[in-house]
Structures are given as C-alpha cells and as structure tokens.
C-alpha cells in the first residue's frame, strides 16, 4: 500500500518537474524569439549601448585617459542586461496583469516561478549577442588594457547576472501591486540605478567621485557590486582573495531577492483569489 502511494507521489513529482522545465524553457525561447522578432528592439538594444559606450570611450581618449576607455566598453557590454532586467523583467508581470495574460498563467498548471526563471534565462541568452558585439567592437576600436579574462571574471560575471535578474524577479512580483504607474516607477529606477551602480565609471571604492553615504546606498544595488568587481578583475588584476566580499554580497543578494520575489508572487496570487482584487485588470 505504502509503496504504491509513494510511487504515485514520485510520479506526480516527476510530472511537476517535467512541466516546470518545459514551461521555463518555452518561456525562455519565446522571450528570445520575441526580442529578435522586433526589429526596433535590436536597434535600441545593440545600437543604444554601442553608441553611448563609444562616445564615452572617445571622451576618455580625448582627455588623455586612454587607460580608462575599458570602463566605457565594459559598461556598454553590461548595460544591455540592466536594460533588459528593468524594461522586460520588472514590468513584465504588471503588463501580463494589465493584458489579462496572467489569468491564463494562473488558470494553467504552469508554475509562475518557472515562468519567471525562464524569462530571466531567455533575457540573459537573448542579450548575450548584443553585449558581446559591443565588447568586441569596442575592444577592436580602442584596444583597452584588459587583463586576460580568468575564471574569476567568469564567476563574477555570472554571479552579477544572477543577482541582477534576481532583482528583476523581485521587482516583477512587487510591480504586480502597481497599476499603470509601474511605467513611471521603472523610468525613475532605470535612470537612478544606472547612475548609482556606476555602469560607466567607478561609483564605489577608491576611485569613486561620490560621497561615502551615497556609496553606501549604491552598494545595496547588486549591479554596483558586480561592476566594481568586474572592473577590479579586468583592469587591476585583482582575484578572488580581494573580491570575496563583493562575491558573497552578490550571492546573498541573489538569494534574498529571488526569495522575496517568489514569496511576494505566491502571496499576491493567494490574496488575489481571496479578494478578487488582482483579478480586476487595472485600466
């Protein structure tokens, strides 16, 4: 008896796992297909960062700071992920709510967590080509003094992305509480975080032009810690021994934000079923 029950339990678990993976993979794929299906997206997401980082690199070179052109190129390579997180992750569920799609998700067996993780994966993979394009073109044009990439760089890069998209998951869920004003919130967050996190210049640490209090606030943003660590490995050849505080903070932030995001999401879904409120699409 017991054996059969636990076998059935295992079968159900396997089925849930299979659905989870299928949902995540198909959501990732759709994200990529949708990105490249929109010609304007390519222009904005490859063209925009490319032009900004080239402009900054020229500026550094003209000012006689050739050694810093790498900051601009690296920033151009990373800014697309940040843009993707804010414009396509954070606002996604809010948009799904306003367009009614979220009810299709809830009324299906698809786990919302799989949708969010899939969306992140798709976002990362879809952004990769444009980010690499900026790095390659920038490097060919300016030959900035990169230290040869190491395992540490790869690790920091991946952790930064996980923490960044974790923040996307948290924001996406929190935005469900908002209505149309989410677009303005996004606008404000994008500009202020782009500045504070120092995508194109060191916003924290020895070379930061910002006051300590502002640096402290900036350090709460995963992108800040990630950019700082990337610059320090790529341009100052620092290794894991120097960078472990950044790395552990990034890991902690990733775990915390994903946890907060998924908890918020299940809370909102439950409350929505009780009050009916989330089900009234906000106009």
């Amino acid at each position: 008896m017991l054996g059969r029950a636990s076998q059935r339990g295992r079968g159900a678990l396997r089925r849930s796992f299979v659905i989870w993976v299928k949902v995540a993979v198909s959501r990732a794929l759709i994200r990529i297909v949708a990105m490249y299906g929109d010609p304007l997206w390519i222009v904005v997401n490859v063209g925009g960062p490319m032009l900004t980082s080239l402009a900054l690199a020229f500026l550094y070179r003209l000012a006689g700071l050739s050694s810093l052109t790498g900051f601009a190129i690296l920033g151009g390579g990373m800014v697309s992920y940040w843009g993707n997180v804010i414009w396509s992750m954070a606002s996604q569920l809010n948009w799904d709510k306003r367009s009614g799609m979220i009810y299709l998700y809830i009324a299906s067996p698809a786990p919302l967590t799989a949708l969010l993780i899939g969306m992140s994966l798709g976002g990362i993979l879809g952004t990769l080509p444009s980010s690499i394009a900026v790095l390659i073109i920038g490097t060919l044009l300016f030959r900035p003094p990169f230290a040869p990439p190491t395992m540490a760089v790869a690790l920091i890069f991946m952790l930064t992305l996980v923490a960044l998209y974790g923040m996307g998951i948290a924001l996406s869920s929190l935005y469900l509480i908002l209505g149309r004003e989410s677009e303005e919130v996004n606008e404000v967050l994008y500009e202020s975080i782009s500045f504070l996190s120092g995508i194109y210049f060191p916003s924290i640490g020895r070379f930061s032009p910002l006051p300590l209090a502002v640096q402290a606030v900036a350090s709460l943003i995963p992108l800040t810690l990630g950019m700082d660590a990337l610059r320090r490995t790529l341009f100052y050849a620092e290794g894991l021994t120097e960078l472990w505080p950044n790395l552990s903070a990034l890991a902690a932030m990733a775990v915390a934000s994903i946890f907060i995001g998924l908890r918020t999401l299940s809370y909102i879904e439950r409350r929505g079923r009780e009050t009916g409120d989330i089900l009234v699409a906000m106009k």
Binding site: V33, A34, L104, P109, R273, L279
Partner: protein, 327 residues
C-alpha cells in the same frame, strides 16, 4: 458523467463601501459533451462563476467540482484539465508568430511537442486560419486574433473549456466558425463547453442547455426549446410611431408581466415588446395607446425568445436590468 458540479456556490465581495453578493447559492451540474450557456445581463455574476470554476477566485461558501476535482482543494488538478478564454485578454506575444504563440501555451500544460503541433494544425484548420499561422501576431486582423484566442483555449485538449463572452465584438463570420467549433468539440471529443454570454442568439444557437442567471441566482435551467415552450403567456410586438416612447416603462401597464421598449429615433418609431398575463389584455393596451395618441402601425403575437423567458422571470429585459431599472 458530470464534468461541472456546483453546490450552493456563493461569492461575496467586500469593498470599502458595500458588500456585494455576486453569486447566491448556485447549484447545477453540466455533463460531458454538453455545450452549456450561462445567460444573464451585466453584473449577473457570470464572470464571477467562471473565475471560481477556473480556480482564479475562491468561493465564499459552497463547493464546486470540475472534472471531479474540487476547485479549491485540488486546484492544480483542475488547472491541467481545463481551457479558458475571455474576449478581454491579449492573445499572446505580438512579435511572435501565431504558431509559436500556440506552441508556447501548449507548453504551459507540458504537452508533448508532436501532439502540440498536431493540435495547432487541427485547430487552425477548423477555425480556418492555417494561412495565418506563420505570421506575427501584430500583423493579424482582429477576427483572426479572436479565432486564435479560441484555439488557444483548446490547445491542451481540455476536458472542460470555459469561455467568457467569447464572441463579444466579433465579426459574424468568425463568430459562426467559433460556434461550429464549440458544437463539434463537444459532440466528437466529449468536451464540456461552458460559456457565459449575454447574446441570446448565441445561447439559442449552440447551447444544449442554458442557465438564466440574474443577480447571482440561477432562475431557470433547461434546453432553449424547453425554456421557450415553458413560457405559455403570449408575447406581443407592437410597432408604433415615436409617441410610443411616451408610455415609458411597459411593465407599468395593466396585464403586462414584463416587457421592453426600443425607441428608434432615426425612423421616429418605437417597438414595444410585452409579455401579457393573457391575450385579453391586448385590447386594453391598444385602447390605452389610442387614448395617448400613439399610432400603432402593426401588432402581432410572436414566438418567444430567450429574452422573453428572462423577462417573464424577472419582469425586465437585459437592457433595463443593465440600466438599473427595477422590475
């Protein structure tokens, strides 16, 4: 086998200012292979009922089973055997083809790829949009998008499919295709089609049975033919000049069980449709109209429609109900 069962299903919405009884002790059963219609005016509780049955909303009291599973305790099981579509949500992703969109929705149910592909072809053929499958969503016309939305609800081969006002604002041709699909899916694949509508014609055309719902209560439930034939009272249509509008609410007239009045300003005419307690009251009404100097061009006893059944049950028509006129 009953595919949908509700027992004393009740839903209360608490807002800051008031307490709304959106569903009030609803009990009924819908069988496999049945096209079932929920017919009622705005605010009757149709969407609320569908949301509960699709696990999007919890009931306040009572119980509901879909495919034998409890919508509260076994929501996950319910979700894997239902399909759902309302005319208000977006169809999918704009920059993705119709085919890919359908494929994506099939993956929400973990459908094997080959089966998903087969269903996509099959549904596209039935709804006549094969030639649109490889076009991006944003290039499709409204009619095709709406068809796609209906196809989407069938993508997982569901046991029960819920539609909330599926043909709202749809062109006549698409609506016809969709109604044919409903009947075919119910009869050949034994699915239960559950649709909320306030379109009388649609309810009569496709539904095996119709539940008439008003203010959260089911007032009658039967086949359209039985509902109409149960209405033994005469229904009379009077066509008058614009002065007919002056009689106001026709239910105030003596001997009138219920009725509606449609004023056609452009042609300076009015159509008064009344259900009479018995035929003798027609004379009285004609007399009254004459006294009020209303010219009656034509009057005749007509076949009752589902709206007349509704009117005889609540005293007012859909339009009156929706404008908030009390019976």
């Amino acid at each position: 086998m009953a595919n949908v069962v509700t027992e004393n299903l009740t839903r209360v919405f608490e807002t800051k200012s008031k307490r709304i009884l959106a569903l009030d002790g609803v009990s009924f059963e819908v069988q496999r292979g049945e096209v079932f219609g929920l017919l009622g005016p705005n605010g009757a509780g149709k969407t609320t009922l569908i949301r509960i049955l699709t696990t999007l909303l919890l009931p306040t009291y009572g119980r509901a089973l879909v495919g034998g599973f409890d919508v509260v305790k076994e929501a996950k099981k319910v979700r894997s055997i239902i399909g759902f579509s309302s005319s208000s949500e977006r169809v999918g992703f704009d920059f993705v083809t119709a085919r890919r969109n359908l494929w994506f929705f099939s993956q929400l149910y973990g459908t094997p790829i080959s089966e998903a592909n087969r269903r996509i072809e099959e549904l596209a053929a039935m709804l006549d949009f094969q030639d649109q499958l490889d076009r991006k969503l944003y290039t499709l016309t409204t009619g095709y998008r709406q068809r796609l939305n209906i196809a989407r609800a069938f993508i997982n081969g569901p046991q029960v499919v819920f539609f909330d006002e599926p043909t709202n604002g749809m062109d006549v041709f698409s609506a016809k295709k969709i109604r044919e699909l409903f009947v075919k899916e119910a009869k050949t694949n034994s699915r239960t089609i559950f649709l909320a509508t306030h379109n009388m014609f649609e309810a009569e055309e496709v539904c095996d049975r119709v539940a008439i719902i008003d203010r959260g209560r089911i007032l009658a439930i039967d086949s359209p033919e039985n509902l109409k034939s149960s209405l033994s009272k005469p229904v009379v249509l009077l066509e008058t000049d614009i002065a007919g509008a002056s009689i106001g609410d026709p239910t105030q007239l003596e001997g009138v069980v219920g009725g509606t009045i449609k004023v056609d300003d452009e042609n300076e005419a009015a159509k008064i449709r009344v259900i009479l307690r018995d035929e003798d009251f027609l004379e009285k009404i004609l007399g009254l109209l004459e006294k009020r100097r209303v010219r009656v061009f034509n009057y005749q006893r007509i076949e009752p429609t589902l709206e007349d059944v509704f009117i005889s049950l609540v005293g007012a028509g859909f339009a009156e109900r929706e404008r908030g006129i009390e019976a």
